[in-house]
C-alpha cells in the first residue's frame, strides 16, 4: 500500500494559525502615574468609574488566560481616547479598552454558557446565567442598535421625511426610552432628503480628472445620511484645488461599534472599507475623512484591532480633510487673501481630533481670514462621545462632562458653533441652542463664491 492510500496516516498540512495574542505586555509601559485618570472626562464626573488605568493596564495585567470576565465598568468608558494622548509612556490604553469591551460584550452572550452549565448539570448556575443575561439583554439590543447607526441610517434614508417625523414623535421617544434606554432628552438628527451618495451619483461623480491629485473621500454615515452639506463642501473645496475626488464603496468606520464593544460588526464593515480604500490608494489616492472619529478609526483603531490585508496601507494613507490640505496646499496664503462673511465662531476641538494632533487647525486656519473671528473653547470634552450620550443611564454624565464646554461657549463672543465631529456638534447644539458648522463648510464658502457651485450646496 502506498502512502497516498493510507488515509489513516493522512495529516493535513497545518499552516501556523495565528493564535490570539494578548495585551498583557501592554502593561509593561505603565508606571501607574495616573495621568490618564486625571484627564478622563468620565472619571471626573462619576466617582464610581475606576478610570482608564484600571480599565487598561491594570485589568490586563491582572488577567490570566483562563480569566474571562471583564469588569462591567468598561461600559462606562466613552471611548473619547483622551487617555491615549495623556499617557507619557505610550501605553496602548484605548486598544486595551476596545479589546476589553469587545470581550465584555462577548461574555454578555449568555446562551451558550447557560447550555454548557445545563449540560454539566449545574442547574442553579445555568439559572443565574440566564437571569443575568436577560438583565443585560436590553442593554445589548440598545447598544447593538446604536452601534449600527449605518444600518439605521440606510433604512431611514429610504423615507427620510417619514423617518424624521417618526423618530422625534413623542410616543416613539417615550417607547425608545422605556423599552431600550435611549434618552428622550435629545432630538434625533434629521435625515437628508437626498443622501450625499445620491447627490454624487446625480452630479455624475467627479468634475475633475487628475491622476496626479486624487483623494478618496470617506464620508462616513453622518455626512451621507444627515449632513450631505459637509460632503458637498468637501467636494467643492478639493475640486477648487484641482483634486479628483473618488467616492469609494464604504460602510461604517466602526467608531460606534468599538464604543459598544461590537468588534465583530466593526470587523465586517472594516473589511469592506479596507478593500475599497486600498484599491483607491493603489490608484494613487489619499483617503480623506471629514469626520475626525472616522479618520481616527481608519488610522489607529483598525491596525490595532484587526488583521486585514492592506490595513496598514489604509492607516498610513488616511488624513482628515483640513489636515491634508494644510500639508499639501498653501492654504494660509490663499486664506489670508480671502474674506468671509463677518461671523464669530466658537470652536470646540473633538477629542478624536485632539488625538490626531489636529485640535488647533481650524483656529489657526480661520484666524487669518478677514472678517472671521474664531475662538477656541479650550480642551473640554463635549461629553456625548458618539452613542454614549444617547444612553439614558449615561445622559446625566454626558451633560455633566459637557458642562464646562457649554459654559465656555456661552462666555465666548460668537453664537455660531464650529467642530469637525458630528456628535460633538449635536451636543454643542443641545447644550447651547447654537447652530454648528463644519470647518469644511466655512472653507467652501470662503474659497468658492462661484455661483455655479451653488447647486452643489
Amino acid at each position: 500500500m502506498s502512502d497516498t492510500d493510507d488515509t489513516s496516516s493522512f495529516d493535513p498540512v497545518t499552516v501556523f494559525e495565528p493564535t490570539e495574542q494578548d495585551l498583557r505586555s501592554g502593561s509593561d509601559d505603565c508606571y501607574k502615574c495616573s495621568t490618564c485618570d486625571s484627564v478622563c472626562p468620565v472619571a471626573a464626573v462619576d466617582s464610581s468609574f475606576p478610570g482608564p488605568k484600571f480599565q487598561g493596564p491594570e485589568q490586563w495585567r491582572l488577567t490570566r488566560k483562563e480569566d474571562t470576565e471583564i469588569d462591567d465598568s468598561i461600559m462606562g468608558c466613552s471611548n473619547c481616547m483622551r487617555c491615549d494622548g495623556a499617557c507619557p509612556s505610550s501605553v496602548p490604553l484605548s486598544q486595551m479598552h476596545n479589546t476589553a469591551r469587545g470581550a465584555y460584550v462577548e461574555q454578555q452572550r449568555f446562551a451558550s454558557d447557560a447550555v454548557a452549565a445545563l449540560r454539566s448539570g449545574a442547574f442553579r448556575r445555568a439559572a443565574s446565567i440566564v437571569r443575568d443575561g436577560v438583565a443585560d439583554f436590553r442593554e445589548r439590543i440598545r447598544n447593538r442598535l446604536l452601534a449600527n447607526y449605518y444600518t439605521a441610517g440606510r433604512f431611514a434614508s429610504k423615507l427620510p421625511r417619514v423617518a424624521n417625523a417618526a423618530t422625534n414623535f413623542g410616543p416613539t421617544r417615550w417607547l425608545l426610552e422605556r423599552v431600550l434606554g435611549i434618552t428622550s432628552e435629545r432630538s434625533f438628527p434629521s435625515f437628508a432628503t437626498q443622501t450625499f451618495r445620491e447627490w454624487w451619483a446625480d452630479r455624475g461623480g467627479s468634475h475633475v480628472e487628475n491622476p496626479d491629485k486624487r483623494v478618496a473621500y470617506f464620508h462616513g454615515c453622518y455626512a451621507n445620511y444627515n449632513t450631505p452639506a459637509v460632503g458637498k463642501a468637501m467636494v467643492r473645496v478639493f475640486e477648487s484645488f484641482e483634486y479628483e475626488v473618488l467616492v469609494p464603496q464604504q460602510r461604517c468606520s466602526g467608531t460606534p461599534m468599538f464604543a459598544n464593544g461590537r468588534l465583530d460588526d466593526a470587523k465586517r464593515h472594516a473589511e469592506t472599507n479596507v478593500e475599497s480604500l486600498a484599491e483607491a490608494i493603489a490608484d494613487g489616492a489619499a483617503v480623506i475623512a471629514s469626520c475626525t472619529s472616522c479618520s481616527m478609526a481608519l488610522r489607529e483603531e483598525y491596525p490595532e484591532l484587526f488583521d486585514i490585508d492592506d490595513i496598514d496601507a489604509v492607516s498610513e494613507h488616511t488624513y482628515e480633510s483640513l489636515e491634508y490640505l494644510r500639508h499639501n496646499e498653501d492654504l494660509d496664503a490663499v486664506l489670508s487673501e480671502s474674506s468671509g462673511d463677518a461671523e464669530e465662531y466658537v470652536y470646540h476641538a473633538p477629542c478624536h481630533a485632539r488625538n490626531q494632533g489636529l485640535e488647533r487647525q481650524a483656529v489657526e486656519l480661520f484666524s487669518s481670514v478677514d472678517g472671521v473671528t474664531i475662538e477656541d473653547v479650550g480642551d473640554s470634552c463635549s461629553g456625548i462621545s458618539g452613542t454614549y450620550g444617547w444612553k439614558t443611564e449615561k445622559y446625566d454624565n454626558s451633560m455633566a462632562i459637557g458642562d464646562p464646554m457649554f459654559t465656555e461657549m456661552e462666555a465666548a463672543a460668537g453664537e455660531q458653533g464650529m467642530t469637525e465631529c458630528p456628535t460633538c456638534a449635536m451636543q454643542m447644539s443641545h447644550g447651547t441652542g447654537y447652530s454648528i458648522t463644519h470647518p469644511l463648510e466655512l472653507l467652501a464658502d470662503i474659497l468658492t463664491d462661484d455661483p455655479s457651485a451653488s447647486s452643489d450646496r
Binding site: R24, S27, R61
Partner: protein, 555 residues
C-alpha cells in the same frame, strides 16, 4: 525570661512551618523561631514551581515520584496557594531527541501523567513560544505561592497551639553535657532594635534552617557540611506564558519560566557560595538568563523586568560524596540525627530537599521526633486542608458578594481562599491599597492584625507592593494603616524596611521601564515626601496647622 516547650523548631521557612504544623497536629507543644519574617530565607526566594516531578524523571526518579505524590496532595490541602498552570518540557532544534524520549518514559515510570505535543500544539497552548520549538511534553507542573503556603502552615500550627515567634534570632544553643536543652533568643522590637534575650528550654530542638544549618550546628560544636548554592531569579512584569515552561535537556542554567500570580519568574543559576548571608549578585547572571530563556519565549527579550533576587539552595550531601558541580548534588533531603551522628542528643537537623516535598520532609522528621519523645500519634497533614483551603466554594459565586471590581474580587478570593468572607465582608468602604496586585484595605488590615507592624510580613501575605510599581503607590498607603495605633517612629521604620526590601530587588532591573518607574518612585518618595531626609529639611516638626487656614501673614 525563661519559657519551656516540648519541641523548638528553628527556621520559619516551608520546612520549619511544616514541621511545626505536623507536630502541633499530633498534640506536641511546639515553638517555632525565625530570625526575620516567615519565608525570609530560601522559601521566599524560589521560583514558585510546584514540581510535577518531570524535572527529575530521568536523573532522580525517587525525587520525581515524591514530587508527583506531594503535588497531588498540595492541590488538595493547599489549593488556595496553587495555580494549576500545567507545565511543558519543550525541545528546540539541537536538543537531544533521545533525552526527550527518556523524559517521557521516566515520567511514565514515576506515575507522572504526560502528553506528547507537536510544536504547533505547544504553540496553541502558549502562543509566545518560539516558532522553532519542535515538540513538547505536557506535565502537571503548577505554580505555588511559597509565602501563602508557609503562612498557612504557621497559622495551622498556631491553631493547634504552637507558638510562632518571628524576628527572634537564635544566638546560642543551650547545652547540658552532651545534650541540647534549648536555645537563647534575641528578639527584635518594632523599630528594629534588639531587646533582651529569652531562653527557651526544649526537650528537642529541630534545626530547619536549611542553608544556615551549619551555623546553628556550630553553636553546639557539630559540623553540618551544607553546600549552599545560589540561584538567580528574575521577575518579569507580566505573564508572557500561563504554563510553566521547562527546557527539555539534561541540565543547564536558565531553563525554566514559571507564571506566578501577575508575573513570570525566570530561573535559574546554580553556583556554590561560602556564606548564605553573603551572596554575590551579578548583573550578568540576569542578562544571561533573559537571553537564554528568550530562545524559548522570544518576547522576553525587551520585556519589562521588575526585579531579580537570589535564593540559596540548602544543598547537602554526605561529606564523603564530594560532588564538584552543585547541579549534580542530589535534591534529596537528609535527616541528621545528631545523637547518632555526633553523640549530641536533643538536636535534629534537616537539610537538602525542596519546597514541593516540604510536607513529606516535615512528616518524616516529625515521625522521628515523636519516636524520640515517645509520642504515639500519626501524621494527618496530608488529609487535613490548610487554613484558606478548608472550605471549597465556587469562585464565581464568591466574586459577586464583596462589591469589588471583578479582577480585584477574583484575585482577592484566590489569595484568601475560604478566609475570603471573614476578611472581605466588612461594613465599611474597602478601597484598593495596592492596585497593581488588587489588594484591598480589608486584606491589608487582616494581615496587619496577624503580624503587628512588619510591612514585609504584610507584603508576603497579601502581595501588596509586589506589582509593577514595586511599592511606589502603595508602600506609604500600607504604612498609613499603622496610624494611629503605632508611634510615628514605628510607622517610619516599618516603611523604611519595606522600601529597603523593594529596592534590593529592583537594583537589578534598572533599565527601560523599571528605571523610569524607579525614578518616579524616587521623585514621589524621596523628594515629595522627603523620605530621603534632605538636609534642607528642618529638624523641627512641620507646622501642619499653617497649611489649614493659610498663612495669615500672607497678602
Amino acid at each position: 525570661m525563661d519559657t519551656k516547650t516540648e519541641v523548638l523548631v528553628i527556621g520559619g521557612g516551608s520546612t520549619g512551618c511544616g514541621i511545626a504544623r505536623d507536630l502541633a497536629m499530633r498534640g506536641v507543644a511546639v515553638t517555632l523561631v525565625e530570625r526575620g519574617t516567615l519565608t525570609d530565607g530560601t522559601t521566599g526566594r524560589m521560583h514558585g514551581l510546584l514540581h510535577s516531578g518531570g524535572r527529575y524523571a530521568v536523573s532522580d526518579q525517587e525525587s520525581a515520584a515524591e514530587c508527583i505524590t506531594e503535588n497531588r496532595i498540595l492541590r488538595e490541602i493547599a489549593h488556595h496557594c496553587v495555580e494549576p498552570t500545567g507545565g511543558l518540557f519543550v525541545s528546540k532544534p539541537g536538543d537531544s531527541e533521545e533525552y526527550f524520549e527518556r523524559k517521557l518514559s521516566g515520567c511514565a515510570a514515576c506515575d507522572i501523567p504526560t502528553e506528547r505535543l507537536s510544536g504547533e500544539q505547544a504553540r496553541a497552548v502558549e502562543p509566545y513560544l518560539a516558532h522553532d520549538v519542535e515538540r513538547a511534553i505536557r506535565v502537571p507542573d503548577a505554580a505555588i505561592d511559597p509565602f501563602r503556603l508557609c503562612v498557612a502552615n504557621a497559622a495551622a500550627a498556631r491553631e493547634h497551639g504552637a507558638r510562632i515567634e518571628t524576628h527572634a534570632e537564635v544566638t546560642d544553643l543551650l547545652l547540658d553535657g552532651d545534650r541540647v536543652v534549648g536555645v537563647e533568643l534575641a528578639h527584635e522590637n518594632d523599630t528594629g532594635q534588639s531587646v533582651p534575650t529569652e531562653r527557651i528550654e526544649a526537650e528537642h530542638v529541630v534545626n530547619a534552617t536549611g542553608a544556615w544549618a551549619g551555623q546553628i550546628g556550630a553553636m553546639a560544636g557539630v559540623d553540618i557540611a551544607v553546600r549552599p548554592s545560589k540561584g538567580a531569579m528574575t521577575v518579569m512584569n507580566c505573564r508572557q506564558v500561563d504554563t510553566v515552561i521547562n527546557r527539555c535537556r539534561p541540565k543547564g542554567d536558565a531553563d525554566i519560566i514559571v507564571p506566578h500570580e501577575t508575573a513570570c519568574i525566570l530561573g535559574t543559576t546554580d553556583v556554590e557560595v561560602d556564606d548564605p548571608d553573603d551572596v554575590p549578585e551579578s548583573q550578568w547572571e540576569v542578562e544571561s538568563m533573559i537571553e537564554t530563556l528568550s530562545e524559548l519565549v522570544p518576547i522576553l527579550d525587551g520585556a519589562r523586568t521588575l526585579r531579580s533576587f537570589w535564593g540559596v539552595r540548602p544543598l547537602y550531601e554526605p561529606p564523603e560524596t564530594k560532588t564538584s558541580d552543585p547541579t549534580d548534588i542530589t535534591r534529596q533531603f537528609f535527616l541528621l540525627d545528631h545523637a547518632d551522628r555526633d553523640g549530641l542528643a536533643g538536636l535534629t537537623s534537616i537539610v537538602g530537599g525542596k519546597l514541593t516535598t516540604y510536607r513529606l520532609m516535615a512528616e518524616r522528621i516529625s515521625d522521628h521526633i515523636c519516636e524520640r519523645l515517645g509520642v504515639d500519634a500519626v501524621c494527618r497533614t496530608a488529609d487535613v486542608a490548610l487554613p484558606g483551603s478548608d472550605n471549597p466554594m465556587r469562585l464565581e459565586d464568591a466574586m459577586a458578594s464583596f462589591d469589588l471590581r471583578s479582577p480585584i474580587a477574583r484575585r482577592s478570593i484566590q489569595r484568601l481562599g475560604s478566609r475570603s468572607s471573614s476578611v472581605l465582608s466588612i461594613d465599611e468602604p474597602n478601597p484598593v491599597i495596592c492596585s497593581c496586585e488588587a489588594v484591598t484595605r480589608a486584606e491589608v488590615e487582616d494581615a496587619l492584625s496577624e503580624v503587628g507592624t512588619d510591612l514585609n510580613a504584610v507584603r508576603i501575605r497579601t502581595r501588596a507592593s509586589m506589582g509593577n510599581c514595586q511599592g511606589c503607590f502603595c508602600a506609604h498607603r500600607m504604612a498609613a494603616l499603622l496610624h494611629p495605633d503605632h508611634t510615628v517612629e514605628t510607622v517610619r521604620s516599618s516603611l523604611d524596611a519595606l522600601y529597603e526590601e523593594r529596592w534590593r530587588g529592583q537594583r537589578h532591573a534598572l533599565w527601560g521601564e523599571q528605571l523610569s518607574q524607579a525614578m518616579l518612585t524616587r521623585f514621589l518618595h524621596a523628594t515629595t515626601m522627603n523620605r530621603a531626609h534632605s538636609q534642607t529639611a528642618s529638624s523641627e516638626s512641620i507646622a501642619f496647622e499653617r497649611f489649614d487656614g493659610g498663612d495669615d501673614r500672607g497678602d
